[in-house]
Symmetry: C2
Subunit: 289 residues, 2 copies
Amino acid sequence: MKITVVGVGLLGGSLALQAREKGVAKRIIGVDANPENADKALELGIVDEMASLEDAIPLTDLVVLATPVNVISGLLPRVLDALPDGKVVMDLGSTKEIICRSVENHPRRRQYVAAHPIAGTENSGPAAAFSGLFKRKTMILCDQEKSSNAALNLVVSLAQTLEMRLSFMNSVEHDRHLAYVSHLSHISSFALGVTVLEKEKDESTIFDMAGSGFSSTVRLAKSSPDMWAPIFTQNTENISRALDAYIKRLQRFKEVIDGQDEARAREIMHQANEIRRVLQGIDVKMGGL
Amino acid sequence: MKITVVGVGLLGGSLALQAREKGVAKRIIGVDANPENADKALELGIVDEMASLEDAIPLTDLVVLATPVNVISGLLPRVLDALPDGKVVMDLGSTKEIICRSVENHPRRRQYVAAHPIAGTENSGPAAAFSGLFKRKTMILCDQEKSSNAALNLVVSLAQTLEMRLSFMNSVEHDRHLAYVSHLSHISSFALGVTVLEKEKDESTIFDMAGSGFSSTVRLAKSSPDMWAPIFTQNTENISRALDAYIKRLQRFKEVIDGQDEARAREIMHQANEIRRVLQGIDVKMGGL
């Protein structure tokens, strides 16, 4: 199979590396608007060649869109316009509703599969890519009834090659859940990072006093602004509602702390401790990683 | 040296294990109000025997208070009352101002060393203890000018045996900084856990959709309510101020997201990205752990 990866960063690059390692991709063409990323992807052997999207599409069995989500929703209709019969396009975006809507009436809609791999790190760019990124992670496929069986089978078989679990969901539900279990934790981490940096201007104090707990909570604050700004725009309403709930929680928690109401503070923390069971579920799913 | 550890949980237990492994403790006596913890500590070989505090003090060169902070500030004056000349008491509490104030006029104040090891995990109890917990972490010693040189030397040498870095700081400053670099991230994580659990009642959805980013951000929500409720009470003012700053940040971030102001969102995230340098500092300090 010949694969074109549009956006040779962390996700696209990792998919290319794994597809090649598993022997499912005979040839991988990269497309990237950023010349530095293009050079790096070639240098690291992530792709066989770089090309323009126009040149790549006719040569390709599967086009993978792995750019920021605003670029995906812009490119997807153009890719479908040019896609030969029997060929497939998928995306890896963190939002799904707006992307799916961008092609809902496209005559070639059935050649598109809406996918979101729950995988990533706080790093970005081709140098951050590695072949094990997707292993044991979940691949969510959205609105699968709108894809042809042939297109769906190709993406499902790729996901299985990547050793991923599959999960099916509609795109509207997807965005509503993701606001809570992913987008919100990124925002809480970005805001925590900025709050602490503003207060603790002397970095050596932070080095001395912060431990692994702080590192863990603020890790996502390292994430790419170029990737995340468009996610906020494509999932504004859901994120706004999740943030609202989170801010209200924090305000109530603050009242409890201000009132030194230890009994109530314990109750809230016991409730939060329930997350232990959920995290065990996630760890089991990921094979203890 | 004979050591008495009051509170044979994660911190006290780990200190006991490491002190024994390094050969600095010939005999370790445990004191714990919880009979289950006492049995477990004996069973795991963390302590040689369990005793009452009254019985243990006269037999001991160093008393280590490793209980929740409210118990530390209650016990510390009583321990000093009973402590023979030349013997030392230290604590491992996450707050320092109120604990130090509880003995500021005590005639034996110089036999006390106020310590806070920046080490821990989200687990608690003797079963969570392990000998490597303190290795390459920072031990903060507070108000060191109020301790005798002999007491200070004993604790410094113990910290060096545990392979810890030392940092000196006054207790008021300590609590002010810790509100930002530790207490706030615990609260943000507790609140995030409760928010997501309340919304996502179906756990399997969380398992499927949440990845390692969510796990990392919410990890501290597993922390012990019994340990944390008294920390909030002993550091209320500083925590309240830090929480206020954090909530204001989140509210401003929410306005930016609601307004789909991607340029401003990018600016905030670029600022937050600066945390990368700080986290590298923490990682270097911890030897890449």
